[in-house]
Point group: C2
Chain length 287, copies 2
């Protein structure tokens, strides 16, 4: 696996592939890779001649009181995992190369960013949109692979790609879970043993919401309170940031969900300083 | 000359050229073409195998009280001019194709947009940045040609291209003028005979500012008031919106200009409802 840290060699490597008619898949990450990331890489490798992975803990998507400085990092382990997955190229920029002095352009996606994590992470999705747009412009892949665990991020980037006419296909890949249902996340490592035991309550609460939707409950307030209650029952050591039920495409807040559209059930909870998110999409046809 | 109105055929035509190894230059316009536009097209044709021109009166760059609906249009004349210039492809989208329902992404460039026309046209440069980014993503040209008459627009787009890593070269082309010095603009047609006679006062005021800079005047306030005074003296029928002197790269407002950096002298004036802008760049080496 080749590793590049500068935009110049990155573009040159990809241009070389393009000149040979090769296709390129791209998996952006913040490192500390887990099976979720690896599933995206495998999907890209199955569908493309070459796969580029980036590792960049993007400062513009962290709020001032968020965990940028303590975000888990283990580059040696990541390199070993990427090599084992036969990743073709790792792009490992430093922040000065991505945001040089004088950088003053921002990107904003409204609508899909206004519910769920939006209110509690102001600026977060703008930061995600900016860095992914920059990476797409540097790499120019055929396909962008994103994990559906970060569902609002997926919808935001899909919307941005469509609105800005970025010539890339966006593919969302299923959440990979631990045996007890906890969605894989780089942040799980920060849970202590007691927190880790209670963490699957997030998933259980969303499944409780799914059962209610399937049984015909379409009141967003009732779904929210039932999911919160279910979480609190099985995770006394956790705190609810939100549980919400919104339309799965536009993520718009509504009083009553449409029976003809898929529903996104999503939650964010905290165990100590560790914030976990998860979601469950309930297709309309299954109700 | 081929004309396309949809993104699909546009991309297909350009892909066909790319497959043959041809280079592409791009000139975005709002139509009602004049010699300034034609000079950009000639430059593109001299430097590229193929030249794409767009005509799109972009609604997102007009404010609610601005002249979107009365912006001058004459498509038949434009088509004749473009054919005579041997333009290869005219992209003529309609607003619904550029901004379909649900469009919710915006782009913002700070810094260079905060002086000159920025305060009096809130949202204008965001609208310009958005539409040009979309056009660049649809066309993927090698070079973007812009007129230096709209100097702040040029600096804004150059900044955006750099900040978002858009793989395109940005070229600014000299302002083309009438014999009496008035910068060519689609809006000049709206001047009545008396206004047209006084309109060169804008240029004269900027030249007065240039002479002062060359003679060592670096106070932004003094340059502003001297230019305003010069304009009012020769154009009693005009109104000053602003005359400003700023650093020519970042367009930042300063009390005292740096003797080591080029200076941008810029003005916006109104004759009746017609707004005219012009600028003069004074290189540091000539002072």
């Amino acid at each position: 696996m080749r590793t590049v840290t500068q935009a110049g060699p990155l573009r040159a490597a990809i241009k070389g592939w393009r000149n040979r008619g090769l296709t390129v898949g791209f998996v952006p990450t913040m490192g500390y890779l887990h099976e979720g990331h690896l599933s995206l890489i495998r999907r890209s490798r199955a569908e493309h001649d070459r796969t580029v992975v980036s590792i960049f803990v993007n400062p513009t998507q962290f709020g001032p009181r968020e965990d940028l400085s303590t975000y888990p990092r283990d580059l040696d382990r990541d390199l070993a995992l990427l090599t084992r997955q036969k990743t073709d190229l790792l792009y490992l920029p430093d922040a000065g190369d991505v945001y040089p002095e004088g950088h003053s352009t921002s990107v904003s996606v409204r609508g899909v960013t206004e519910s769920l994590c939006g209110p509690s992470r102001p600026g977060h999705f703008d930061g995600v949109a900016l860095v992914v747009l920059k990476l797409l412009n540097r790499i120019a892949p055929d396909t962008l692979y994103l994990g559906l665990k970060d569902y609002q991020q997926y919808r935001t980037l899909e919307r941005m790609v469509r609105d800005l006419d970025v010539p890339v296909r966006v593919v969302g890949c299923p959440t990979v879970r631990e045996k007890d249902g906890l969605a894989m996340s780089s942040r799980n490592i920060r849970l202590d043993a007691a927190q880790r035991r209670q963490a699957p309550a997030l998933r259980l609460a969303l499944l409780r919401g799914r059962d209610l939707v399937r049984s015909g409950v379409l009141s967003a307030a009732r779904l929210s309170s039932e999911m919160s209650r279910a979480f609190r029952r099985s995770a006394p050591g956790g705190r609810v940031e939100y549980f919400e039920a919104v339309g799965a495409e536009r993520l718009e807040r509504v009083v009553r969900l449409s029976p003809e559209e898929p529903v996104c059930l999503a939650g964010a909870v905290r165990f100590g300083r560790t914030r976990l998110i998860d979601n469950e999409i309930v297709p309309a046809r299954r109700r």
